[in-house]
Amino acid sequence: MSLLEIDDLSVDYRIGSQMLRAVDHVSLRVERGEAVGIVGESGCGKTSLGLSIPFLLPTNAAISSGTVTLAGHELVGMSERELNRLRWTSVAFVFQGAMNALNPVQRVDRQILEAITAHDPRVERDVANARVLELLDLVGIAPARSKSYPHEFSGGMRQRAMIAMALACRPSLLIADEPTTALDVISQAQILALLSTLRRSEDLSVLMISHDLAAIKRVCDRIVVMYAGIMVEMGTTEEVLGRHGRPAAAAHPYTLALIEAHPDLHGERLLAQGLPGHPPDLSKPIVGCRFADRCPSVMPICRTEAPPTVTLSAGHVAVCHLAAKGAR
């Protein structure tokens, strides 16, 4: 049984009088000890997908269909009280810009302590304090700095503190939404290295949401590519993005465009092609493939029929007419 199973999930937003489907029947799984990356650009629905797992969607959004199962527990339909018990203890999350969510007038160690005592009010002080120091050590913050205030920390250190807070109750799943945006290149590498290490040392599963393909490549075993609310490709990172010496075997034109748009410092100085245009308006009904307007390999069938899910190899699927043609 997978640790996290998302089946046929749809998330709808109500904006004024219009309804917008931000996530459209998406399914994915995260196994124990696995790191899965969800990659896509703004408006693709990845953040909504991430927020729906711990049920932290904004008030004008709702899960309209599908199920979310965490360690066997069916989350959709659970009461708020039961969900609260699962939050942080089974699934923890580090939001976008989380480093700015720290309380500026409280010391960092107190805040991490609060995360522990909030979920276990009867824990002994000594035990909790020891855990705080243990967590800080885990993320690489020296004990001497633990008594500092957030503004005395750099962006990278604050993000580490957030990760420490997330791990406070030993969750089995960590959801990280854009954990490295707004950080320096060096700090980004440090945080990603930390996530990688923690995965192994704490037996943690990670669901990482990012627009940065390079970041996902560093941390994740599997990758899910989203576009305009649907999944367009899924597979192992090694297969889809390629690794040392092994070329990328991505099949969906959008994935290929994303890969090509990420500059490579090794090869020749080629300016990427990029993708002109922008994603479709999700408040209007969509006919055929959502990517058809921008796809360099578009075919007539793409505009009339929704593309099928094609299995290219074990664990590697693409939702594309072109891939279907090639697979035959």
């Binding site: 408006g43 092609q273 002109p276 922008h278 308006d281």
Partner: protein, 305 residues
């Protein structure tokens, strides 16, 4: 397809459509939709009708006093809809005329307050630095200036008139506007938009006029309605205390006369209720519309990042 061609598509996000400049008719419609605003608008229409049309239909003749002792302080009757005063005058007709003065003073005072307040707030917030410090200290000075002693002093010096009343109320109302506008401008000036336009070579006046003022206009509008309601109330209060123009019959003056002639102790409720109700409705009308405007226009302010 030429990869350089960026074709115009539909609105990329319905969320962002909120940022579109709202047409004027849209604001009015929004106020109507809001229950608070609707009540305010209805009251406002009623008040304006009374003030503007009333005197035309029922002219008030300040010279027509009661013919006999029997017509003094009479309760409402068919002849006199809202009864008579201690001088035998028709209360209803006084009511119709009195509103004009209240509104007139209210508007003039508000105009002074708005021009001074918005202007000062704009300049202070835009330049920041020492100019801001100096202007804010001046604002503080006027903020603590008490209306009552000021008008007594000025009335003694320059006589009691609508002009003096308007001036005093205006002078003591602008600080709050100045502060509100200033804080909004302070945050606006840091936006990339202002940096970009400055780098283009735009002068300060141009930036204030074209890029900052339109963004604070909704704020000024909402504030205007609230200041107006306060000004009307202030005028009524001053007139009631006998500091208004004795010649002009405003609602406050009517109340003043009613008080002086001992109307309450004599049970002449119509004399007090009529102008009183007028003041309440007018102040409430502007207040409700102002709060409604604030609520409507604020999301735009919040959204105009």
């Amino acid at each position: 397809m030429n990869d350089a061609d960026d074709v115009l598509g539909q609105v990329t996000s319905p969320v962002l459509a909120e940022f579109a400049p709202k047409p004027r008719s849209g604001v009015l419609r929004s106020i109507w939709k809001d229950p608070t605003g609707r009540s305010g608008l209805i009251m406002l229409v009623f008040v304006l009708f009374v003030i503007l049309i009333g005197p035309v239909i029922f002219p008030f003749d300040s010279q027509s006093f009661g013919s006999s002792a029997a017509s003094i302080l009479q309760p409402p009757s068919r002849a006199h809809w809202m009864g008579t005063t201690e001088l035998g005058q028709d209360v209803f007709r006084q009511f119709l005329v009195g509103g004009r003065i209240s509104l007139y003073v209210g508007l003039s005072a508000t105009l002074i307050a708005m021009v001074l307040g918005a202007g000062l707030g704009l300049v202070s917030g835009y330049y920041a630095g020492w100019r801001d410090t100096v202007l804010m200290r001046i604002t503080d000075f006027f903020l603590v200036l008490p209306t009552l002693p000021l008008i007594i002093v000025l009335a003694a010096l320059f006589g009691q008139s609508i002009l003096v009343t308007s001036l005093v109320i205006g002078m003591t109302s602008w600080p709050q506007t100045a502060r509100i506008i200033r804080s909004q401008v302070l945050s606006l000036r840091e936006r990339p938009l202002v940096q970009r336009v400055r780098s283009l070579g735009a002068g300060d006046l141009r930036i204030m006029r074209k890029h900052i003022l339109p963004k604070v206009a909704p704020l000024i509008l909402a504030n205007l309605a609230l200041v107006l309601s306060g000004a009307v109330l202030a005028q009524a209060a001053l007139a009631f205390l006998g500091l208004g123009d004795p010649v002009q019959v405003s609602w406050g003056t009517t109340l003043h006369n009613a008080f002086n002639s001992g109307a309450m102790s004599q049970g002449a409720w119509w004399y007090v209720m009529t102008p009183g109700a007028g003041i309440v409705v007018m102040v409430l009308a502007f207040s409700l519309v102002g709060h409604s405007l604030d609520r409507i226009l604020n999301p735009l302010l919040r959204g105009d990042r």
